[in-house]
Assembly symmetry: D2
Homo-oligomer: 509 residues x 4
């Protein structure tokens, strides 16, 4: 039987999240969670008969919170709510982002504070398992609930919007029919339950956290490779120095780098003459470690976001209450991603400086721009513009947006986190860094070849081979855009990470 992840609303891990969103592992809902959903729904109907005003339920949302919604108009009201929230702007979210979004919301439904009708919860599950993916325009959110984007899921589940299904774009209604599913008739609170969530930022963010975790690992590998190309001094990797300053992230990176370089010629006596290498080599574990430190912070709040309630109003099952609250607030998470972007801008610049050093004979003792033939081949002369201009983009992307918001909805909504935009811009930084590290890798293997270094580390050897299998030694000038693109693909696909990680699983790192 195929693998399944059982969702409970309180214990979704990042690893499982990514398996579901990316690898399309199927999900189930735990019985306890489903019972909570059903109990919540019963409570909603109890409230319906009461007179207590509840935001977005028997009252409007936003500025319209003073408007009554009477019971017989629940369907119409909730439909209109979905329509009026369908204000997203292109581009459309990718397949994996749509899956991540559905999953992120499904998980917080299960906390049991929403009061949504159970059929919707089941439909989210089915859309994931059958890969029926609503078209979601991904811009328009101020990160205070992704209401402008999640509404498009609402449109789909009513059978009205569009979805991608089995390779085609089609009406949601048709896809549901084909899949043996039924559109939903919205009841009380359903509209708000669908739109009022941070699922887009959380989902996108969770994928990004995984990407960054991988990116740091790859950066460690390529740094190790560059060390061999550079004939760098390994003494800053000395474990003892880390013991008197036990900062988690840097200890983690240093340990990994030591393992990648296990067996390398760099550890032989008298190999490295420089008393102290440039900081871009000497301090890489520190810089990569700072990205790890920042990531750890983000991860904590992201997991909290995936496994606790984000609903307003918030239904308290045991207390039989529906209370207004601010549980949609994700400012800490947004701040964490801003910090992460800044941390990545250090990693980005660090890689650039290593690459510049690798092409400088003064530091390497090798040829200028790593040319194989001084008088006739230019080699890596101009490519410096490429990676530094991408770093300049990263510097720009790392500028904050979190506090740039308006006062909206009749001056009621005068705070926002801009979390969604932050995650999207941070993802661009990550992609640019893939190019930057890819170009560093081109330099590292070229330097290794020119240096005829024949005893590489266990991990770096594997990395070297992955690259050289696809990109030959630069023996004469050629269109380097092609090499850059290939190296980027090797990094993006995870190929290089897999090759090195497999090895280290064999070792006792």
């Amino acid at each position: 039987m195929a693998e399944r992840v059982v969702l409970k609303g309180d214990s979704l891990t990042l690893k499982d999240f990514v398996r579901i969103a990316r690898d399309k592992v199927a999900v189930e809902i735990s019985d306890e969670a489903m019972e909570r959903i059903e109990a919540g729904r019963r409570l909603v109907y109890e409230f319906m008969d009461s007179d207590i005003p509840v935001y977005g339920f028997n009252r409007g949302v936003g500025w319209n919170k003073d408007r009554k919604v009477v019971a017989k108009y629940y369907e119409e009201y909730n439909k209109n709510l979905i329509y009026a929230h369908c204000v997203g702007v292109k581009p459309e979210a990718t397949e994996e982002v749509v899956r991540a979004t559905l999953l992120a919301r499904l998980s917080t439904f299960l906390v049991g504070c929403t009061g949504i009708q159970p059929e919707i919860v089941v439909l989210y599950k089915e859309m994931l398992n059958q890969n029926i993916l609503p078209v979601i325009p991904e811009r328009g959110s101020v990160g205070q609930g992704d209401i402008t984007c999640l509404s498009h899921i609402g449109l789909a589940i009513m059978g009205e919007g569009e979805v991608n299904y089995r390779g085609a774009r089609m009406k949601a209604e048709d896809a549901f029919k084909e899949a043996g599913l039924k559109p939903i008739v919205l009841g009380p609170k359903d509209g708000l339950a669908i739109v009022s969530s941070n699922a887009l930022v959380t989902g996108t963010g969770a994928l990004l956290v995984q990407d960054i975790e991988d990116l740091i690992d790859i950066a460690d590998i390529i740094y190790a490779l560059s060390m061999e190309g550079f004939k760098g001094n390994v003494s800053p990797l000395d474990e003892s120095a880390y013991k008197v300053r036990p900062q988690r992230g840097q200890c983690h990176s240093a340990k990994k780098v030591r393992s990648y370089l296990e067996g390398s010629y760099l550890w032989l006596p008298n190999v490295t003459e420089a008393l102290q290498d440039p900081l871009c080599f000497r301090g890489s574990c520190q810089v990569h470690g700072s990205v790890r430190d920042a990531l750890e912070f983000v991860k904590e709040y992201l997991l909290l976001q995936l496994n606790t309630s984000e609903d307003n109003p918030c239904m308290l099952l045991e207390e039989k209450r529906m209370i207004p609250c601010s549980n949609y607030e994700i400012t800490t998470l947004a701040l964490g991603f801003e910090m992460l972007g800044l941390a990545l801008s250090h990693l980005s610049k660090n890689s650039c400086y290593r690459t510049i050093k690798l092409s400088n004979p003064y530091f390497t003792g090798l040829s200028r721009f790593l040319t194989p033939a001084d008088t006739s081949v230019i080699a890596f002369g101009t490519i410096q513009k490429t990676f530094t201009s991408l770093d300049t983009e990263n510097r720009h992307l790392s500028n904050p947006v979190t506090a740039d918001y308006f006062s909206l909805a009749g001056d009621i909504e005068d705070h926002a986190s801009n979390g969604t935009i932050i995650v999207q811009k941070t993802a661009k930084i990550v992609d640019n860094i893939r190019y930057i590290l890819g170009i560093e890798a081109l330099h590292a293997v070229q330097a290794i070849d020119l240096r005829r270094a024949d005893r590489l580390g266990r991990g770096t050897k594997a990395a070297y081979e992955v690259i050289r299998n696809e990109i030959p030694f630069l023996d004469r000038d050629r269109n380097l855009s092609i090499d850059i693109q290939r190296s980027y693909e090797i990094i993006k696909s995870g190929e290089i990470l897999k090759a090195v990680t497999m090895l280290s699983k064999g070792s006792n790192q």
Copy 2:
């Protein structure tokens, strides 16, 4: 016979530039310019026999400026130079940007300071006229010559790269054959002549300047439309106030807005009760005017860039000298575009505030969120998140990048302008503003309808009709993403501008 623009290297106007790049009007080269090119080429061959070292000609480029290039290797050297500069990164430039790039460089060839072989100049002309467009990846430039990108044109003219031609992507060689053209064999200085130019930023920038000129006109129109929706006080448009403060840009906008509102009900006595409207209405001509002021600055330096020499080394025909210089420096132009981005961020925010006001009964006397039916239709409640989040993006895009550069090429190249990145990010601001103004327009016409304003201005009436022809009155909640996209298209296509401008050509504005 079809229309043609004769290029002379000193008098290309923005209007002609756009006609060639966008409307594919054909070009010719003036005889005088062609003679200069040929005289320059003869001078190059005279230098070949001399011993004076010239950068990038009989010496290498960048750090390799100390390397000699001997005559028999000119072809090989120049080919390698092209290869080694092919380091651009995706995305690929659009058709109009490639045309603009070819044209920008063609124009500066004609100044006569390059020394390039005449056949290349002719081939650029032919590629424009026959629409054979090299594939150019548009990232990788630090705005100090777009050398990493223009190299890809070099690849094409040698017959090696790829081009888009007659709707297909193909080998340059094949396209040339089909078009009856021949690839080029590079001679002395040709490599540098091809790559060492700011043609990508200049070309992209020229198109952008035109787009912004149009955008301000459109902003003026939509502001006028909003005035009618808002029942705004027209007294701040009073010409007399501008006479005692004759700041060019604002006078220009005010004059246009008065003309659009010619005949409007707003000029009737006792129409507007408010003593002073919110600043987003009262000061729009000032804000739009500031964008005009900034644009005027940019335009001056852009035209200078298109019509003077950008070559280093610079050939001085009359003096029979080839001198090193810094004529590739475009910092002023880069600074101008940064300022323009900031100016646009004011315009962007101004439109947002007008739109917010239009949905506020306190200011309009109309319904909340311009709903046609208070109790049952939500209308423009959530859409505020959309346009303000786009404005937040604009705030971010308007952050500067110009001074974020590295010291490259063995610390020789320690200055850059980042002009290319700046133009590209400014273009994103412009596109976002199209959405923002599009949404303002939706509000303006809805307010006009709700207000049953029946005497619109000459210009605003035309604008109103263009919009209402495609987007009906919002009588009940519907998927607004579709309305937003349509309104954006109306603006982007220039449809609304054309409709209004035609009118005013008839009038004696």
Copy 3:
């Protein structure tokens, strides 16, 4: 006998740090720590006789790491090192910052990885205890060791620089004589030991962390006060909502705010009519909580910085080694302060919006701008420019600088954190927020008075009285700059915090 804090190099707390730096509590050095110092010094002399090259010891620093330093020149070399590092720029550090800097370095000396002569360690202690404070210019550091600033301490201990002592600025030599102390003759490694430390950023940062901790507490108090002025809805403070989303910072703030409002009229039935208040009121605990979350991150790395080794080279006593390392790297700490600045910019803006709301009759039911007499008193009309312009400054200050560094020292030092600048700009944000909260407090008490609210909370009542004791009810227009300055002083002095905190110590919060 007077209170003393015993320093051990591994357990300095923030509270003790502030008591020493600000309240001038005396310090002692533990015996174990002193023994480590002495053992380290012996090891240094052992190395002197060996041939192993050690950076900054028997070799130069920075680019000069290839230069030998022979034993008989140790004093001269170390003196020159101090001189050449004396390159700080004004302004001069305040008394408390100098104390904090001395203390921060004294603490990391005690870790035992420095190898400094024990007399210097003792002199640092004495300078603290006798309050002999070297003049330190506080600009010039790139946050990779505050070498340009700490050198000025070196100058002082050699008896050459200037100090502040007993209210006067004098030659260090004279102060030492007066205090019965002796200047130091520098020996091997002493120069580097003095300058190569992050003591300025750590010391300033530790004081700032304390200031921010207090600031959040004060923000919580003033928010509570504003709630009473606003007649805000207390339901978002409901503990149950926090249980289903247990994010530490927000739970902490909510608990505090509930305690301040204990006994307030706001908890009476039917007091608050608004279904949901504006977010600036509804989400304040979330926003303040996010600052707490960010602060917690910073604090962890700051304490690590104070209690572990920051030396390079790093002496390993037990291993009898002196190894090069990167333990001077503080990028994580620098990133944390950047995040904290962004978090504070949210708090800043939140306070502004609350203040704006407090002067808006639509939301308060009170008079416009909280005037006591509609037709004749303007009251808080213009003051909105003041606090929002300070917030604009904060938005600017919160822009990052961490990754804006050069490649220095012959391209060896190509990384920096800019931590020192970051801490200094964050301190400016904090000071601006004191004004902003001060102005909010003026509004809150005015609203309370106008509303004749007579049952204030336990904490808010105390706060109200502190303010009203110094600033009377605004019964007619007066020079408000004076009120603003007073309110700022009340906040800065900690007066308001003390008054409220004392109370809650009595309660069982």
Copy 4:
């Protein structure tokens, strides 16, 4: 008789502005201007009897624009208006800024669109001529009229505020008595006339424009000096290259630099071996020229601001109308200063790179860090941190603030320029650059000495002597903070500029 400048309201030059504000040259008011003031005042009284509502006159300001002000309360109303606008925050403006502010407003009074009582105009003139300077806190403005700060002038002229006079701080009343002047009794419109002006930003800005003009000249001089220290290649100064690219700013700087280097050894044959120097040397005239280009833009709008009406409502004497308008808008000027800050950040970085190069033997052929004795003197090793950290501050200061504003005053004032803050931050950039150029100058003269260059240019020789008269050759390590401060003072005082400029007045430059 002492020199006087006659003010007319339409022709104040920057040069005269600075002479009045800084050199305390006395002012007179032209008869025509005074007649306009008086005619305007008569018109105000005509309006008093009419019923037409005029903002800030017989109606309130800001949100209170709907409130009537009846004639018998004019004094009280205008006093209250002043009080309520007294909301500025420290620091207090310097003497020259207060003078500049008074002058800027005095000049726009004379345009004749204000309607202020003539006695106030005369008092402004007297305060300038007798140097009675109101205490003005300089923060709190959003750059949309400096209303929060100019109010403090209002306080003074009513005799209530504080002023600085004859070296003491005193009550305005007392100063007036001592000077034989009388406080003002405010009449209709006077309050608004005093506060509603951009005089603080205009005045500060005018002084800053002069400072930047001087700074560029000084940067040109120090660049020329560095050229001689560097033995730089002068061919990029070749006039012919500028003729084929006639961009104003760079032509201006190149011409000046050529004149400073007149007679220098650099022009001798075979002096410079490098084919092309690093860009920081090769392109300095281009970078400095870009600052000139940006400054020219700013200057145009600043002069317009000083010599045209900024009043709202605006009195039209000939038309006998008082109309609402937006003539207080200074967005273009604010944008110009933002651009100028960015331009200066290029100049700042350029100087840093030149200084780095000057200490690098690879480029200079001189000793490392320009040490006079390789083995024993460290010289300019650490100082690189100082100037680059100041450049990092400049990078931060150059971030924009112009569009970061709130919607204020009941959402009426939803636009601002933040011009005042921009000018203040740009002034900090300028001051930092003085340090940076000062440090470059230290390097330049040290390199000249080490190189024993004995034929300096006419201008550079003068500059060299000014520096060396105060700062001796660095023959051994010493406290460099002192040298830095001295060099900064030489630049700030204008000493170096004066020495060089005097010379060139003698020449036929």
